[in-house]
Amino acid sequence: MRTKVSEGPLAVRTEVFEGPFDLLLHLILRDEVDLYDVMVGDIVDAYLAELDRMEHLNLEVATEFLLIAATLVQLKSSRLLPDSEPLDLDEELALWSERDLLLARLLECQTFKAAAAALEQMAAVAGRSHPRASGPDERYLDLVPDFLEGIGPDDIRAAFLRATATRPAPHVDIAHVTDIPISVAEVTADLVARLPEIGRVGFRELTEDLATGIEVVVYFLAVLELYKRGMVDVSQASTFGRIAITWSGEAEEYEPLAGVDAYDG
């Protein structure tokens, strides 16, 4: 299905809904529910929870959502009304155009989601090549008309962030030639076997014997996978705080991951 945006192995994203369209699309497409089977109250709750996760109330998001919620309530209530009392034709037409507008916006939103995924893909391909950017060598430096031309304080700041943020440490890492010894699927299966006995464990304790960062990432992905399946609860009291993992599933329910290969780094 075209809407399934494939995500890279590291693209672990918690479902943070970027607004009402996102949430609706999620509810409709991923859960494949008929919105009429969903209590509007549930949607409101879900959305309020999202708003809660934002640092402050974003009025625009909130009002946009109210509008959509109102439309849904209207659509829904019109369905509940007995047929014998038909709506005024104007009202019904208005209802349709509301509905169409909503549908149109959802489609547009979905279209740009797909376009964004394509852009990301193109960037990933282009990212395999690195441009030469070294400029003229010393012999020509004296000819450069104005050395700081067009460079302002903000460019200095940007350069600093670039210099400090995006570079791997200077050590020579051979991860790119070494196979990662474990896969997400293996670790997930392993955790399903171990966690019911342990019950509750910190992520740090769980991974302290691992030799490389990449293995830790694999463990992290495995925990996320289990979280997604509702087999563990994960809590973290503060940003960068201890991540506590609590087993909450039934090991018998576990179906091994299919098609998840070792992280290919």
Binding site: I28, L75, D100, A116, A117, E120, S129, P131
Partner: protein
């Protein structure tokens, strides 16, 4: 090869080698005093030579000019070495915003927000900081909203020569099954048609393809809109 040809070729290679941005062929033509067509021809030849010699670099046309860059095949070795230009990945919010700007440019923040249904302030700021989007002017209409467009850094990041090389937006319009799912979900069961108005009885929701289909671009169409 004539001496003149050789000299022009050498000049092109030398200039692109000392440049830190794509060099427009028109500029090279001016500096070398040959025609732009000749520059283009030389660059095409050179690129082909490097390819056939299995060089570790390539000469590419990107963002309106020519530049050297490492060959993708050498990526495993270069990855650990690159000194700058390794770009952090963008969040999905930023990517979606970027896609909207790329396809609808120039446009205002409010227009971006309208499409995404959320305030685009933050994502736009991120994109500006990354140099992928910049302000290009003011809307002549009421409000004089600031208008934004993608930059040449954006083109480079995507490996494009020009913005019209982007795949057409219509390619990304959701397939019929998605549209159907959305329609079904939004349709009033049992009352779906405008019963009485056009005789549609609204039974078979989901199969009811006759519903008034929306025009997603309503009110802001510019031709490359998704057709439904």
């Amino acid at each position: 090869m004539t001496d003149e040809n050789r000299e022009a070729r050498q000049a092109v290679e030398a200039i692109v080698m000392v440049a830190d941005e794509p060099v427009p062929p028109g500029l090279m033509a001016q500096l070398i005093e040959i025609s732009t067509d000749q520059v283009e021809e030389i660059c095409t030849q050179l690129a082909e030579e490097y390819r056939s010699e299995v060089r570790g670099f390539e000469l590419v046309r990107v963002a309106g000019g020519y530049r050297f860059r490492s060959h993708p095949d050498a990526e495993p070795y270069v990855k650990r070495f690159v000194v700058s230009g390794q770009s952090a990945r963008l969040s999905s919010a930023a990517l979606e915003t970027l896609a909207i700007v790329a396809y609808k440019q120039p446009l205002s923040r409010a227009q971006v927000s309208a499409i995404r249904g959320v305030n685009a302030e933050g994502a736009m700021r991120t994109l500006q900081q990354r140099g992928l989007v910049c302000e290009v002017g003011r809307d002549p209409g009421p409000g004089n909203a600031r208008l934004f467009a993608t930059t040449s850094a954006f083109l480079e990041r995507l490996g494009l020569d020009a913005i019209d090389e982007l795949p057409p937006l219509v390619d990304f319009v959701p397939g019929p099954e998605v549209i159907e799912a959305l329609e079904t979900s939004l349709m009033a069961d049992g009352r779906s048609g405008l019963s009485g108005a056009d005789g549609r009885d609204g039974a078979g929701q989901g199969q009811d393809h006759g519903v008034p289909t929306p025009a997603p671009e309503r009110g802001r169409g510019n031709g490359d809109a998704p057709a439904v």
